[in-house]
Assembly symmetry: C2
Amino acid sequence: MKKCVCIISGGMDSITMLHDLHKQDFDIYALSFNYGQKHCKELLYASENCKMLNILHKVINMREIGNELLSGSSLTSNIEMPEGNYDEENMKLTVVPNRNMIMLSLAIGYAISIEAGSVYYGAHSGDHAIYPDCRPAFLKALQKTALLCDWSKVKVKAPYLNLNKISILKRGLKIGVDYSKTWTCYNGREKACGKCGACQERLEAFRLNKITDPIQYDTI
Amino acid sequence: MKKCVCIISGGMDSITMLHDLHKQDFDIYALSFNYGQKHCKELLYASENCKMLNILHKVINMREIGNELLSGSSLTSNIEMPEGNYDEENMKLTVVPNRNMIMLSLAIGYAISIEAGSVYYGAHSGDHAIYPDCRPAFLKALQKTALLCDWSKVKVKAPYLNLNKISILKRGLKIGVDYSKTWTCYNGREKACGKCGACQERLEAFRLNKITDPIQYDTI
């Protein structure tokens, strides 16, 4: 059985990937990070999906480290959450500095310690423009680093790197992912806000797949 | 003033680097990691040196993460500490999986958030044979990754990469580093053991510099 570490946030992309790997008979060790986000709603969904699939799920508490070292992001600090479409200036505010490299480094360490051959994360093409650490060039450099950091040769994979959210959703629907058990909104209220960049992207993906998003929204 | 993050353990290499950067008028933000080592003696020396130089020193608590994700190392677990010379099989036991990549990723995140241009760590040529993540190829791959992970372009530097412990000590003695305020031994007893691989390397460096190590040893 192919043993791997799978980084999941609880959002639709990483949860689709989790089910996708499960369908492919991977022996999955799921890993999430609480890096001091304003809410942990998506982590609860991450856990729920793992429970459903009978997958060991570790949630690493990075709150203290986030507060101590990685301040300056609206996901972790008191800066007001930007609304509306993603654009570069807006989104710089929602980025935890070096988040993917930090999460991937820890996931690689975990993979080495449990003798898993690979680490999966859910970067996709929709993030390329706005997040440097979701781009192919970053992944390539990180993959190379991962092969040099230890005696073990851990492969880092981003199977959705060249898919957009619309195609990922299409794939997830095909393999029967229940999207009512995912959370995308940057706010952690009972219903998703429908206004933030993350909600807008999600809603567009459902619209273009001609299907209704099963979660509830405040504004629509 | 050149602003940088400097990763220090409290051992002789990183403490020499700290004083070296200080002499070169860097605006230093020192960073240490408590990743669940069996003792924290070297961290106390790290703090003492920073206090002396009036440098902000953050110690990041990675104990929980270490226990949760990175077990299997004799530095963090209950496996018996290997004595005698370093050799590959022995030293694999003292390695925390992916330690340098994890520490460097966090240091890069910190550098981004405080707008420092570079991250320094104390890898040296004596570690090349035994630690993959102290080798030039690893550093080069990581440097490239660091330039791609964010809008900021943080440079990762290992100024002693091609120096051995003997040359580093020579340099430190020249700039007046007080080596009684450094700790190298893998054991955390009052006196250094003089037997572990780390002590043996340290003692050799002093011997070849024709100077007496100012710290006390159990066995010599």
